[in-house]
């Protein structure tokens, strides 16, 4: 009897919570400083999410930069799961750093709401490079193991994993050079200081005359660059990308989670939102709820495997 009552009370509380939600500002924690790609995405989503939640709802972005996003991810994971604290979530970076250092969260610390952006990695060389195709590059890497340098944005991120997976799939050996950030890596490629790089496709779009994209590390060709083959087409089954989505702390009330997922789906369906994201150069790959959780789990396995085979520190 007591049990039923409690259940009833809880159910009632949940419905009232849902009916009133949100009754105070919703905060989205961004683990990077204002003006970065993730921050801009969060602010764009926040703007549209306010409308979808309706009733004068307010969605505020809070930047908590530091430690490669870890400070922000930790803050989100440890917040109360009441729907008033959400966070941006970057894959594979957020989970990769649970392997290479002590983190206070793991893949199970979050309620996965929706992923918005998926930017596939590539194999890219300077336009002036002598390598015209992926095969030529891999040939050279095999002929003199380690002679081909790959510029990365960092170790323990999608650039790095893409490079490792490419090496494993082709049997070639590369020298990895982790720069501070994608722009520095890109500049080093353009200046001929490293032979190639694994930057994401989004990083290449502003430099069509300076860079040559040899392959996209995705299942299918990108609608942004239909002329570039996938690595899979060329015989190397490698997929890696950078994902950005919105999560909440684990244990979020199912009704609130559903409401947020529905609202985020409506945001994604808004053509104005799509236009704004396209203008910012963000390729949208909307994945909601359990599918997003499955993606995170898969990325977690990739990070775990690479960490086990070739730990980077």
């Amino acid at each position: 009897m007591k049990k039923t009552l409690t259940a009833l009370a809880l159910a009632l509380a949940a419905t009232t919570a849902l009916a009133d939600y949100p009754e105070k500002p919703v905060e989205i924690i961004v683990g990077y400083s204002a003006g970065g790609g993730t921050d801009v995405m969060a602010r764009t989503v926040a703007q549209f999410l306010e409308k979808e939640l309706g009733d004068g709802a307010s969605v505020v972005v809070k930047n908590m930069p530091g430690a490669g996003g870890q400070i922000g991810f930790t803050e989100t994971s440890q917040a109360a799961p009441d729907g008033y604290t959400l966070g941006t979530f970057n894959l594979p970076a957020a989970l990769a750093l649970t392997y290479d250092r002590d983190a206070d969260y793991d893949v199970s610390s979050f309620t996965y709401l929706a992923n918005f952006v998926e930017d596939p990695n590539t194999i890219t060389v300077a336009a002036s490079s002598k390598f015209q195709t992926l095969d030529e590059l891999i040939e050279a890497a095999k002929a003199d193991p380690g002679a081909i340098t790959l510029g990365l944005s960092s170790l323990g991120g999608n650039d790095h994993f893409g490079a490792n997976m490419m090496a494993a799939a082709s049997g070639a050996e590369f020298t990895l050079v982790p720069f501070k950030g994608a722009s520095n890596a890109r500049t080093a490629i353009m200046g001929g200081h490293v032979a190639a790089g694994t930057m994401t496709l989004g990083q290449t779009t502003s430099f069509p005359d300076e860079l040559r994209v040899l392959a996209v590390l995705a299942e299918d060709r990108s609608p942004f660059r239909p002329d570039v083959p996938t690595a899979k087409e060329l015989g190397y089954d490698v997929q890696m990308s950078s994902l950005r989505g919105i999560v909440a702390p684990a244990g979020l009330d199912a009704a609130v989670a559903d409401k947020l997922r529905a609202a985020l789906s409506a945001v994604n369906a808004n053509p104005e939102f799509q236009a704004m994201m396209a203008e910012q150069g963000n390729p949208i790959a909307f994945v909601v709820g359990d599918d997003f959780a499955a993606t995170a789990a898969k990325q977690n396995d990739v990070a775990a495997q690479i960490w086990a085979e070739t730990p980077w520190k």
Binding site: P65, R101, R186, T187, S206, E210
Partner: protein, 498 residues
């Protein structure tokens, strides 16, 4: 491309766009003048608010703030020996002695005119030479940048002051601080004591505020009974048009502008290195180097022209390649991204009105500096220093706390700053020079990161560092800077003996 430049001009004069620059310059001077508040901080606070603004209004504000703050930093540097921004450290060398001699007003006028000239030169470089100069940036890979850092570190030799041993200890302390945080290649924690807040290393502003601002404030508070102003009301101010003919620093201005522009297009080093190098060069070539450090106006001119000359030029690699030349340019890049403006050659083709308008705003910001900075700083702002000492000291402490807290919004940084303040106070009392610490922190990390990248590219072979012309030129320059003065001295002494 030049027609695009002219085409962008009318829009810049739209009322809101122009007002943004004016407000930005004034705000920048104020922010720069407050110890602890820097241009980087002001612009990063501004970025989220610009989300709803027109692009040119947002960018105009930022251009104004950047220009204003680079000069504003000189105000407390001259009057209190507290650099308002990292780039104003070299301004203290001669600016403060001038203020002590009752020439504070003239020092500020030299600073504002020099800042303005540097800013104008830099804006022209950005407007006319951005694409070719971005090619120069491409020449600088890890090994070349490593040598730039070594060259900068070598210039510390000039900053050692009377006691080289103490100077070297200071420099080593700076380099040590640069080691704190996760290492640049593998991300291993170094001296972080498990604190997440220290993983990214020590922010230069935290070190600067603690080291430079706290000791003078303690001095101010140590004499609470004396209630007079710092340099009393005697700033020695005369109208700026009367002061102008006394400024004959063309060589220094041209040299400082070129150095500033050059440092600006190289990623990472920034305004403080430009100011140090310009100061060194100007002193080295001066006919009377013995007066430097004792209140030589040309020293103020050299430092201030260079730290403004790297403002617009730091945006050249930022706009064309996405790699900011300074910390301020990095946050400005964020401001561009907010408006969907992606750096790269496409930016110039797709949004010429905005990009070129932004460049014009830089130019006007630099010109406005003389008008606004001249009156604002010398007539009103500097009067703040007539406040009773205990009051002034308390105000500065509050500003320091707010400024440091607002960098990341956490108390941890405030405690860190107070810790550095204690170290700075001890160093100050024991007469250890502080500039080498700042330069050590900036260039130490820069040198390490690029050395390790270069060695990785070379697969561990150090010969990679000597494999191209740019590197070899930089090596030769470094040797010249280190050995040159000794040889020159020996040569002159040798002649005397004959």
């Amino acid at each position: 491309m030049y027609s695009d430049l002219l085409h962008a001009l009318p829009n810049v004069f739209a009322l809101t766009n122009f007002a943004a620059v004016v407000i930005g310059v004034i705000a920048g001077i104020v922010v720069g003048a407050m110890p602890g508040l820097s241009a980087t901080m002001a612009i990063s606070v501004l970025v989220p608010f610009t989300f709803g603004l027109e692009p040119l209004v947002a960018l105009g504000l930022m251009a104004g703030i950047y220009n204003g703050a680079m000069y504003g930093g000189a105000i407390p540097a001259v009057l209190l020996r507290i650099p308002g921004t990292p780039a104003a450290v070299a301004t203290t060398f001669d600016g403060y002695p001038m203020a002590q001699k009752g020439q504070g007003g003239f020092a500020l006028q030299v600073a504002v005119v020099s800042s303005s000239i540097g800013g104008i030169a830099s804006a022209f470089a950005l407007m006319l030479l951005a694409p070719p100069l971005s090619k120069v940036t491409l020449l600088f890979g890890p090994s070349e940048v490593f040598w730039v850092a070594v060259f900068g570190l070598a210039s510390i030799i000039f900053l050692l002051g009377g006691n080289p041993v103490k100077g070297l200890i200071s420099a080593c302390f700076g380099v040590f601080v640069s080691v704190i945080g996760s290492d640049p290649i593998y991300g291993n924690d170094r001296f972080t004591f498990g604190q997440l807040e220290m993983l990214d290393g020590i922010n230069i502003v935290i070190l600067l505020v603690g080291l430079y601002a706290l000791p003078p404030v303690i001095d101010l508070l140590e004499t609470p009974l004396k209630t007079d102003g710092v340099n009393s009301s005697n700033l020695g101010t005369e109208p700026i048009w009367k002061a102008l003919p006394r400024m004959k620093y063309w060589k220094t201005w041209i040299r400082g502008s070129l150095i500033g522009i050059w440092i600006g297009i190289l990623p990472g080093a920034g305004g403080s290195m430009a100011a140090f190098m310009s100061y060194n060069e100007a002193r080295r070539t001066s006919k009377h180097p013995e007066t430097w450090g004792e209140g030589e106006p040309e020293g103020v001119a050299a430092a201030e022209v260079a730290n403004n000359a790297d403002t617009a030029s730091a945006l050249i690699p930022a706009l064309t390649l996405g790699i900011p030349g300074t910390a301020v340019a990095a946050v400005m890049l964020g401001g561009l991204l907010v408006h969907g403006l992606q750096p790269g050659p496409m930016l110039f083709r797709d949004n010429p009105d905005i990009v070129f308008g932004f460049m014009w705003q830089f130019l006007f910001g630099a010109i406005l500096l003389v008008l606004l900075g001249g009156s604002l700083a010398t007539n009103s702002f500097a009067r703040l220093l007539n406040l009773p000492r205990p009051l002034l000291g308390s105000v500065i402490i509050v500003l320091m706390l707010i400024g440091v807290y607002s960098i990341h919004g956490r108390m941890f940084d405030v405690y860190l700053m107070l810790g550095f303040g204690a170290i700075g106070w001890v160093m100050d009392r024991l007469k250890f020079p502080l500039p080498p610490v700042v330069l050590g922190l900036i260039l130490g990390g820069f040198a390490e990161e690029n050395l390790r990248l270069a060695l990785r590219i070379g697969r561990g072979d150090p010969m990679i560092l000597f494999q191209n012309t740019t590197s070899l030129i930089l090596v030769a320059l470094t040797i010249a800077v280190v050995v040159g003065p000794t040889l020159k001295k020996r040569f002159i002494d040798g002649r005397k003996e004959v």
